[in-house]
């Protein structure tokens, strides 16, 4: 696992839920006990243990560089949101303009995430990350030039491109960590990266206040405040370049691998991704878990400022609680999915996802209808837990949809999140037709409605939420995954990795399988 030459392999390890969450690998894989590394590693020099509070090179250092760069990009993409009450007066923005800018901020990365995979394949994740972070620093600094709505929308669109660091982050993790723990590593990295959307709601108003107290006028202070995310970009870019390395052994190995022919055809993988109906259900679902999280990051500070007459930094603190819940909510969602899978298998995972995401939707409706500050804050926190845990629970199931096209499906799902966010902001938060509280209520209703399709997801070998498996023969799991390869492809052995995956995935059958056949799963 972890070859860097297959198309879509740049997304390998994005989900990596081949095994359930584990902090360390069981001893069945040969471990390399060379004294060279601070952590135990496997045959490919990938760490087999996840030590959170270490900065040892190369593995944990990579983890921290990676999630902090990703978080920095979230900080700059949503940096405008808590300052909207000031910016809208400076640039004479209307509600339409503000809404369009919000849509623009999440749209750019739909495409940049897809391109980033190829960039990582070509340049490696270290340069992919550094290039994106340092080349998007000018876009952040260009906020000082903005003088009207068009400029504002354009700059927010350009800054949004840097959210593609999600891809470099996950790719980099998969080169450094063994696939048995990559689920926890990537879930933590993704969750902590998303936290940047909350940190920025706290950071920007405080920076703005400090600059104002130093004597600057309001309409200049917010422009100066944008220098802070810009400097963070430059600092993280330099740190990644100087302290990071592509692979555990160093940087040169990547050059040696160049020139290998792609083992699988991109067209085929795309076909399997696109014709699998489950892919599209997850695209829709993620649009209403990650998508609503991004939309809320954009509107919530302004909402609290206007509706409850709060000061800018108070609104920022409350808005920050929304994004910061990612610290534990996203990993918790994946963990809940794992626990459900132990007893009820894939059916448990599907029910967990439906329950968590629907609850999030109901809390969102409550938030829209809350008339007092206390109920608004409580409902917002519960809504954030629901939406973010649903993100974690989604990527706990996605790896089982297909093994051959995992990379593309993960990429499409991720893009679906951004697309859902753009659409929601366009329909509910850009026009005067809905007040923001009405928009939040309707967004909650949409979440509940668009989570219903999870009932349609049916795996022949494991069943669905309401129906039992349609194929309960012993080799049903293998049949599902190996069936993605034609007879000719199976003859040349292209399907072997999928077969290995299928063997490990049998535990998704639930507790009956666990009891009967204790395989190497935590």
């Amino acid at each position: 696992m972890g070859s860097t030459d297959e198309p879509g392999s740049s997304m390998h390890g994005v989900t990596g839920r081949e095994q359930s969450y584990a902090f360390s690998v069981d001893g069945s894989e040969p471990t390399n006990t060379k004294k060279k590394y601070n952590l135990p590693v496997d045959a490919e020099d990938k760490a087999t243990v996840f030590k959170l509070f270490s900065f040892a090179k190369p593995h944990m250092r990579t983890f921290h560089l990676s999630w902090i760069s990703f978080s920095t990009c979230f900080v700059s993409t949503f940096a405008a949101a808590p300052l909207i009450p000031i910016i809208r007066e400076n640039l004479n923005l209307t509600k339409h303009d503000i809404g369009n800018a919000g849509v623009a901020s999440v749209s750019g990365s739909i495409f940049s995430r897809l391109v980033m995979g190829a960039v990582c394949d070509l340049l490696g994740p270290r340069y992919g990350c550094a290039f994106l972070v340092m080349l998007s620093a000018p876009t952040v600094f260009s906020m000082s030039f903005v003088s009207d709505a068009a400029g504002f929308i354009t700059v927010r669109f350009m800054i949004g491109f840097c959210l593609a660091t999600f891809v470099s982050c996950q790719y980099w993790m998969s080169t450094m960590f063994n696939s048995q723990i990559i689920g926890l590593v990537n879930g933590t990295a993704a969750g902590w990266g998303n936290m940047g959307g909350g940190i920025t709601q706290l950071l920007m108003p405080i920076v703005y206040e400090i600059i104002r107290r130093c004597g600057s006028t309001a309409f200049t202070a917010w422009r100066i405040a944008f220098f802070v995310p810009g400097w963070l970009h430059i600092i993280m870019g330099i740190l990644v370049l100087t302290l990071g390395q592509d692979l555990p052994g160093g940087n040169r190995a990547a050059m040696e691998k160049a020139g290998e022919v792609a083992k699988d055809k991109f067209g085929k993988i795309l076909w399997y991704a696109v014709t699998n109906y489950r892919t599209w259900i997850f695209v829709l679902l993620y649009g209403y878990s990650m998508g609503v999280e991004l939309s809320t990051d954009n509107v919530i500070a302004e909402y609290f400022f206007d509706r409850f007459h709060l000061k800018l930094h108070t609104a920022g603190i409350i808005a920050a609680c929304f994004g910061m819940a990612n610290f534990f909510a996203r990993p918790a969602g994946g963990w809940a999915s794992d626990i459900a899978a132990k007893r009820f298998g894939m059916r448990g995972r599907l029910w967990t996802l439906w329950i968590i995401q629907t609850s999030g939707g109901l809390f969102c409706v409550w938030l829209g209808r809350a008339n007092t500050l206390v109920t608004a804050v409580v409902s917002m926190v519960l809504f954030s837990l629901g939406a973010q845990a649903a993100c974690g629970a989604t990527f706990a199931i996605v790896p089982f949809v297909s093994r051959r096209a995992l990379g593309i499906i993960s990429g499409l799902t991720g893009a679906g999140g951004n697309f859902g966010s753009g659409l929601t902001q366009l329909v509910f938060f850009s026009t005067s037709r809905f007040t923001t509280e009405e928009g939040l209520t309707w967004m909650g209703v949409m979440i509940v409605a668009c989570t219903l399709p999870v009932t349609l997801i049916h795996f022949p070998q494991w069943g669905s939420m309401f129906f039992p498996p349609s194929n309960d023969s012993v080799d049903a799991t293998e049949h599902y995954y190996v069936g993605e390869y034609s007879k000719e492809e199976q003859q040349i052995g292209m399907h072997l990795k999928s077969k290995l995956f299928a063997d490990g995935a049998k535990t998704e059958g639930g507790s009956s399988v666990h009891k009967g056949n204790a395989t190497n799963n935590a």
Partner: protein, 210 residues
């Protein structure tokens, strides 16, 4: 379970506090004595199509008890003069909406001056501050009683808020020094990246040729 009970109890207490706090009588704009004060505004630059510059131009504002007067004149303690948005500046901007509930009303967010009530003609010359946004405005003076509640008002425009409005152009907030700093840091970022990249590629080539 104990923790859950404590959380639920504190939630209940918080909501009770909220509802008690909000149990005061709602004060409405239409209950105020209309036209109790005569308010006039004279911008420093006048004429058709003139737009005042925030931070530079001034307004000469006068106010006094009008001929209509007010039944509650005895309660007037302080006169609060405010800058208010005219309807054209409220379009598609719900954060400037006019509400009848005084607490929710966002028409007049900019404070100009507050002076104790005096029967004689009062005036002030006020420089448009640098955080006034671009828009169309009028001036309103609220007569406030001893506990801080509005009792009556007068404004420089008519009831429909159509006459005697003036336009303001905000400062841009941009500065040449900011622009230059921004360009410098951007160039530094790109150049640093290119230098690192070229340097490492060169080092790798040297090592490979060894």
């Amino acid at each position: 379970m104990a923790i859950q009970k404590i959380l639920f109890a504190s939630l209940l207490i918080c909501s009770l506090i909220q509802s008690i706090h909000g149990a005061e009588k709602v004060r409405l704009f239409k209950e105020l004595d209309k036209g109790a004060l005569d308010v006039t505004t004279k911008p420093s630059r006048e004429g058709p199509g003139v737009v005042l510059d925030a931070g530079k131009d001034t307004l000469n504002i006068t106010w006094t008890l009008s001929s209509i007067g007010s039944k509650r004149e005895a309660e007037f303690k302080i006169i609060k003069v405010k800058l208010c948005y005219a309807p054209p500046s409220q379009v598609d901007r719900p954060w400037r909406k006019t509400h009848d509930e005084l607490f929710k009303d966002k028409t007049c967010p900019h404070k100009i001056i507050a002076k104790p009530y005096d029967k004689t003609l009062q005036s002030t010359t006020w420089t448009l501050e640098r955080d006034i946004p671009t828009g169309t405005y009028f001036v309103r003076a609220y007569a406030v009683d001893a506990i801080g509640h509005e009792v009556a008002y007068g404004q420089s425009t008519d009831d429909a808020k159509k006459t005697n409005l003036f336009s303001v152009q905000a400062i841009s907030g941009r500065h040449a020094s900011l622009d230059i700093a921004s360009i410098c840091f951007s160039v530094f970022s790109v150049v640093a990246l290119v230098v690192f990249f070229v340097n490492e590629k060169r080092k790798a080539k040297i090592e490979q040729s060894k």
